[in-house]
Symmetry: C2
Subunit: 230 residues, 2 copies
């Protein structure tokens, strides 16, 4: 790759990062090119699809996301680590309008981005397990709930403008309180899980993992029947 090409590529990514952060993913391709000081053609040649541009722009942020997970798993207090992770990630959504959307979608062609997301998803299972084993996270918390949390927080961030930070904190505060095992029951510790689940059977079931994955692909239709005939 020629030096000037590399330089332009970097300028495009930088411009995309800035604009996406401030205005969300809806920013037009033209505007990114203009802001980067390059022609539209240059941008389009480098990033033929929007997903690739998004992937390049948010790769560093996604690394930050993974780091938040590493920190959470390294926390000696599993429940504290769990809470910190949720708070940190929702805070990242508040600070970056584009990342808010990135966390509730999936971009299949941006492989580097998605592989980081997958790592976090895998580790999230471990984080949940530790917090539940410690008797602090309710047994009815499901892996899929992370996506629900991120979508809910995205809604608050997208709609509440300058109040986003306060409103988001409030939502996260409510949710974490709901995920925690009641203080009154905490003494029973680890083996209280079954009890807790039974006592709070009113909690509606989580969506299936595949349903949430399909949602993140922005597929608006039900999955096709595996029937071969029309």
């Amino acid at each position: 790759m020629r030096a000037d090409a590399r330089r332009n590529r970097d300028r495009i990514v930088e411009a995309a990062r800035e604009l996406f952060t401030q205005h969300g993913l809806s920013v037009s391709t033209n505007e990114v090119a203009r802001h980067a000081g390059v022609g539209i053609a240059t941008l389009l040649r480098r990033f033929p699809t929007r997903d690739e541009l998004v992937g390049a722009a948010f790769f560093p942020k996604m690394t930050g996301y993974r780091d938040a997970m590493s920190a959470a798993l390294a926390d000696p207090d599993p429940w504290h680590g769990f809470c910190r992770f949720i708070e940190t990630v929702c805070g990242m959504q508040v600070a970056d309008l584009g990342f808010t959307e990135v966390l509730t979608r999936t971009f299949p062609t941006a492989r580097a981005l998605e592989s980081q997301r997958d790592e976090v998803a895998a580790d999230f299972g471990r984080l949940i397990g530790r917090a539940q084993a410690a008797g602090r996270l309710r047994a009815d918390f499901a892996h899929q709930d992370l996506v629900v949390i991120l979508m809910a927080n995205a809604g608050v961030v997208a709609s509440s403008g300058p109040a986003a930070e306060v409103a988001s904190r409030r939502l996260v505060g409510y949710l974490l309180r709901s995920f925690a095992v009641d203080a009154a029951h905490a003494a029973d510790a680890a083996d209280a899980d079954a009890d807790a689940a039974a006592a709070h059977a009113e909690l509606p079931p989580p969506p299936s993992r595949t349903a949430m994955y399909r949602a993140m692909l922005r597929l608006r239709t039900a999955p096709p029947e595996p029937d071969s005939s029309p």
Copy 2:
């Protein structure tokens, strides 16, 4: 008003209702006119601003919203009424993509719509008061939290496609659990409020009412200083 004009007006409102429900408020004016079988000019003459069209299209839904509040206030069990209201309204969001947005915005020029919203807001204060007095709703629940809930649920509905119903129920389940006074503390009843608030001081503060109102106006900037000099 001539009979054919009235007929066309009704067809426009009906078309808007259908399209907004299925695809959200982003549907173009042209498309509404086409779907209604009238010219663009006819639509524009009847509804010079988008807000007026939205107002006309969602007036009946807003009446349903008010009815949900009436039913909640009529419930002999204040806590049950409170929960039913939240569940019903979030269910209305799931069933109608346009209404989802209507509930997180305000449309100052659509007076009939907004006056119904205001009534509900006023009654919501009463609903909260009753549920708190009954010792079932935590004292730290604030009036403004309704908007936060609606925005959060809107985020889930907007992003989770066919899984919206399940995901929304899950979110609402978590939230209601968080709003409830702990079963362990419930015995203390009404005068436990102060205790409950103190014991759960970790809950972040709610956004101010004016901040949320400004957010619903979709004002993306901080309020201007009341300073007269530039």
